[in-house]
């Protein structure tokens, strides 16, 4: 079986790893605003409300910009690697650029005391900097992304089947009115998408991940859909505790699955799947 996507370079690997991290975003947009943090406290201590409010707003806007840009990058990376993405196809990077421009513009007017035209120029320059650094949004990727994975029919079919299962899990997640459980399922979906991305990058792993796609993902889908159905009618603490335990186990095992796939080491994989299947059975959810 030949690889459909060329092996990523070292920088490509690092970038993919960086984008997988749950909290961090584009580094520059997180590091550069650091001086704003002491500014907020100093302004507060001096009782200068305008400076305090402006510095706080600018810092939040820059954090928002980092979040938006990161979301745009993840969206594009998923589209390129999997042919689909769960994020809405919004111009995330442009939104981030606007937020960053607004932040510097506000600081220029209200704290540094520059004229309005000069501040607008600073804001627009920041916007251009973000767009140049992180590239403009490529919304047309959605239309072009398909053939990347469909060249290998077997992989494309397996990924498409898995995608449908993940979509069902996502729909079931929306019906569960418990933010903690929703967050857990959200993380599980992210892990499952990472595993699919690994398969898309290296189709050789499909053979080893096949049982994961069939048994694991099926089991997870059934558990979460079943809980969402019961959850609508009744709420019992015991069931919720059992469900939480199962989610924790799924999360751990998905993480281990991904690490094992990356290590190109099939050892123990089947054993883990058996253990999870047994636990799902014991918890009475399968």
């Amino acid at each position: 079986m030949s690889a459909i996507v060329p092996e990523p370079s070292l920088i490509g690997h690092l970038r993919q790893y960086w984008l997988r991290l749950p909290v961090v975003g584009p580094l520059l947009l997180l590091v550069l605003p650091i001086p704003l943090i002491p500014s907020i406290f100093i302004a507060l201590a001096r009782g200068n409300f305008v400076n305090f409010l402006t510095a706080l707003t600018a810092w939040l806007l820059l954090l928002g910009a980092a979040w938006c840009v990161r979301r745009g990058l993840v969206h594009e990376a998923q589209l390129q690697r999997l042919g689909w993405s769960r994020s809405a196809p919004l111009p995330w990077k442009t939104l981030g650029a606007v937020a960053a421009g607004l932040a510097t513009g506000l600081c220029s007017v209200f704290i540094i005391g520059q004229s309005v035209p000069a501040s607008i120029a600073v804001g627009l320059t920041t916007l251009a900097g973000v767009v140049l650094n992180y590239r403009p949004d490529r919304l047309f990727l959605r239309a072009r992304a398909g053939p990347l994975v469909s060249r290998n029919r077997e992989v494309a079919d397996a990924l498409e089947e898995a995608r449908r299962k993940i979509d069902s899990i996502d729909s079931a997640r929306a019906q569960i009115r418990n933010s903690e459980l929703q967050r857990r399922i959200h993380r599980i979906i992210g892990q499952a998408m990472d595993i699919l991305a690994t398969i898309a990058d290296d189709p050789v792993t499909l053979g080893r991940a096949r049982r994961f796609l069939k048994v694991y993902l099926d089991g997870t889908q059934r558990v979460i859909e079943g809980y969402a159905r019961i959850h609508r009618d009744q709420r019992t603490g015991q069931l919720e505790d059992n469900f939480r335990n199962v989610l924790v186990t799924i999360e751990d095992t998905f993480g281990e699955q991904q690490r094992t796939l990356r290590r190109k080491d099939a050892l123990d994989l089947d054993v883990q799947i058996e253990v999870l299947a047994k636990q799902l059975e014991n918890e009475g959810v399968l």
């Binding site: 996507v5 520059l28 605003p33 100093i42 600081c107 540094i112 900097g129 140049l132 650094n133």
Partner: protein
């Protein structure tokens, strides 16, 4: 095989990225340092 990227395209992309980084550091970085300076020392000046 994936389509090879032309060296010109890679160079253009690298230049854009470097320019973007420079502009970001110059605008966001300098603005934030200026803000700190003004908030901390402006009253004393």
């Amino acid at each position: 095989m994936a389509k090879e990227r032309l060296p010109g395209v890679i160079l253009q992309r690298s230049l854009q990225k470097s320019l973007g980084t420079l502009i970001l550091c110059a605008t966001v970085g300098l603005t934030c340092i200026q803000v700190l300076f003004y908030v901390a020392f402006a009253a004393a000046l």
